[in-house]
Amino acid sequence: MDTDFRGDRDHHDGTSDATPGGYPQKRRPGELGFAAFLSGASLFLLYSAYGISGLESLSAPGAVPMATTLVMAVTALLITLRTAQQQRVTSETLAKDILPGTVVMFIGFLTVFGVLLQPLGFVLTAALFLLVSIKVLARKSWVYTIGVTIASLVVIWLIFRVVFTVLLPAGILPEAEFIQLFRNLVSGAA
């Protein structure tokens, strides 16, 4: 094994924590495109950084942005060049190893989550999200899925509202009234 290489050897074994994957000598599907995208984006940002204060002085507000975007552009171009010279990994495809359907689907789920969060409220959106994603991932019966969803939702909701007192969008569910009702019950019983 290449001593410089600390990525995962057999496809993301769950150990990654800012430890990158990739191959030291070969390029994965889409890697060249990604590098080219980074180069383009960096050049655009460099142009934008130049627009902040131009080459006015070294202590101008645009100085550090220009320096960093210049570094980004140079390194991204260098990476693109190096990547272009490498051979492709033949055993992998973009659709299977880099961006499989599940991942695309989950990016979609998360986007929808963001859209629905404020109008629907946290509890309903989260319930919907957990229900769909656990069903998709676990492929078990609806009884199992609904049971797990409700159990995890209750735990999360209790932790957020009670332990961390995080304010979450209430949406259409009368959450505050429910909490009040619960409080009344408890104080009534005491």
Binding site: D4, D13, A18, L137
Partner: protein, 504 residues
């Protein structure tokens, strides 16, 4: 040590609430560190937003516990399942798993726990002794020194955490650029806002962190949902005093390695553990069991080193405001949010804060020992929790975490964007640590660069004159240069020659 210091150190013990929080944090940290796919960086970055409304002491207590427990927790799964729960436990798996296969899992866990405690203790001691000196020394730093130190930290993370330095530099520069978005705090000039109002306040660094370490990791995990765990038989856990005494000399050496590596800006527990493992292999002449087949030395070395690195990593973080690794970068973010400004002035203005953190670390270390030697049977059950439930939970927590800080949906979208971007970065071998370091250090770097250059009246020649005439600046500057030179073909030839000479 005067009375005030001692009182600050004991804050944790005088307030039961804090003690409980450190305990909960450590306990949770052990499990988070152990469950593959959950990481300490992920947990702490999500927690920042949830503890946002808390007082600073309770928030720090919880996070310190998670950090300490998490570094240790990775070893459990490394031993039991051959899957390091955290990168700092990669070396632990090499000898820990073979021991478990031979039915010595309990013994392996026992020794690992005690040695982690020992390493952690040494790290904290060094932190307590060294930090005040470093902080005194740091008061003499010029703005240019801070700037150079920040650059050095980002470069080190970039060069050591992965194979490709160029990718690391790109990641670091990208992080700094993210940090400059919004209105410039000094002149109020808009930077990278593209005339959009939502960009004026800048990009929330918490959204960046959660995206990079929470969402991207969870997306990556989607590709191996159906991983099965292997059960191990657990025997006697608490190791005998004789065993501990036998490995004491080695553990002292590897703890020292851990503290030093941890204290270097940019290097953390994972590198310390690998270096300590290497060291153990070199100094152990006749191991009872060969390395890689279940040698006890192969467990002692990385585990003492990675826990010693925790104390070490706090030294540059608390005294210079320069994080030692991704987790400490996030800890700095947490301190920022609570209105604290890590750096030499912290030790002058709020020494209590420093001693409180030392006390919390010590407590977390003791809790780690307690929880480490108990509850292994329940542990194996929890670690086997199906990923089809864990992944949706991580994603849910990430969204809520990003939303909670500013109650803003925009932050959720930033987080998603950085999550997807980080996902591709992971796939293509770009390290994420430098991005976070860049974001955190951006302000410090920008401020100090401008201060340095203004004090030289905008003359770059005079700036370099200043660098060359000050021993400290020169050392830092040479170190930065060395990292670049080490990546050029020139260095490879020089290294080859040197090594050939050494061998002959």
């Amino acid at each position: 040590m005067n009375m005030d210091t001692l009182l600050a150190l004991l804050t944790v013990f005088t307030q039961p609430q804090l003690l409980v929080l450190v305990g909960i944090g450590t306990f949770a940290g052990i499990y988070i560190g152990a469950i593959p796919g959950l990481s300490v960086t992920m947990a702490v970055s999500i927690l920042i937003s949830f503890t946002f409304s808390w007082d600073v002491y309770p928030a720090i207590s919880l996070m310190v516990g998670i950090y300490m427990g998490g570094v240790y927790g990775g070893s459990r799964t490394a031993i039991l399942l051959n899957i390091p729960g955290a990168p700092s436990a990669i070396a632990t798996a090499m000898d820990g798993y073979p021991m478990a296969q031979k039915g010595e899992a309990g013994q392996a866990i026992g020794v690992t726990t005690v040695m982690s405690f020992f390493g952690g203790l040494i790290g904290i001691l060094v932190l307590a002794i060294a930090a005040p000196f470093v902080s005194d020394f740091a008061l003499t730093f010029q703005p240019r020194d801070y700037m150079l130190l920040a650059v050095l930290g980002i470069l080190l993370v970039g060069s050591l955490s992965s194979g490709s330095l160029v990718k690391g530099i790109f990641a670091g520069a990208f992080g700094i650029a993210i940090g400059t978005v919004g209105r410039d705090p000094l002149t109020f000039t808009e930077r990278f806002t593209f005339d959009l109002q939502i960009m004026e306040g800048g990009i929330s660094f918490i959204a960046v962190m959660i995206g990079m370490f929470g969402v991207s990791e969870a997306l990556l995990q989607l590709q191996n949902v159906t991983m099965k765990a292997v059960r191990q038989k657990i025997d006697k856990i608490v190791p005998s005093f004789g065993t501990i005494k036998k490995y004491l000399p080695l553990s002292l050496q590897t703890s020292t390695i851990g503290v030093i590596i941890g204290a270097l800006p940019g290097t953390g527990g994972d590198i310390a553990a690998l270096m300590a493992y290497d060291h153990a292999k070199r100094v152990t002449k006749n191991p009872k069991v060969p390395f890689g087949k279940g040698a006890m030395e192969g467990l002692v070395a990385p585990e003492t080193a990675n826990n010693a690195a925790v104390g070490g990593a706090f030294i540059p973080m608390m005294t210079l405001g320069i994080p030692g690794d991704a987790v400490t970068a996030i800890m700095i973010g947490a301190l920022f949010i609570h209105g604290l400004n890590p750096g030499p002035m912290l030790m002058v203005d709020q020494p209590d804060m420093f001693w409180f953190i030392v006390g919390a670390l010590l407590t977390a270390n003791v809790f780690m020992l307690l929880f480490g030697l108990t509850g292994i049977r329940i542990f194996t059950k929890i670690v086997e929790m199906p990923r089809s439930i864990i992944i949706p939970m991580i994603l849910l927590l990430s969204i809520v975490g990003a939303y909670a800080v500013n109650n803003s949906i925009t932050d959720v979208y930033w987080m998603l964007g950085f999550g997807v971007f980080g996902y591709f970065m992971r796939h293509y071998g770009y390290p994420l640590g430098p991005v976070i370091l860049g974001v955190i250090l951006s302000r410090l770097l920008d401020d100090n660069w401008r201060r340095a250059i203004i004090s030289e009246r905008g003359d770059i020649g005079r700036f370099f004159e200043g660098v060359i005439t000050s021993p400290l600046s020169l050392t830092l500057f040479v170190a930065v240069l060395m990292i670049f030179i080490s990546q050029t073909p020139l260095w490879a030839t020089v290294k080859k020659r040197l090594f050939r000479k050494a061998e002959s």
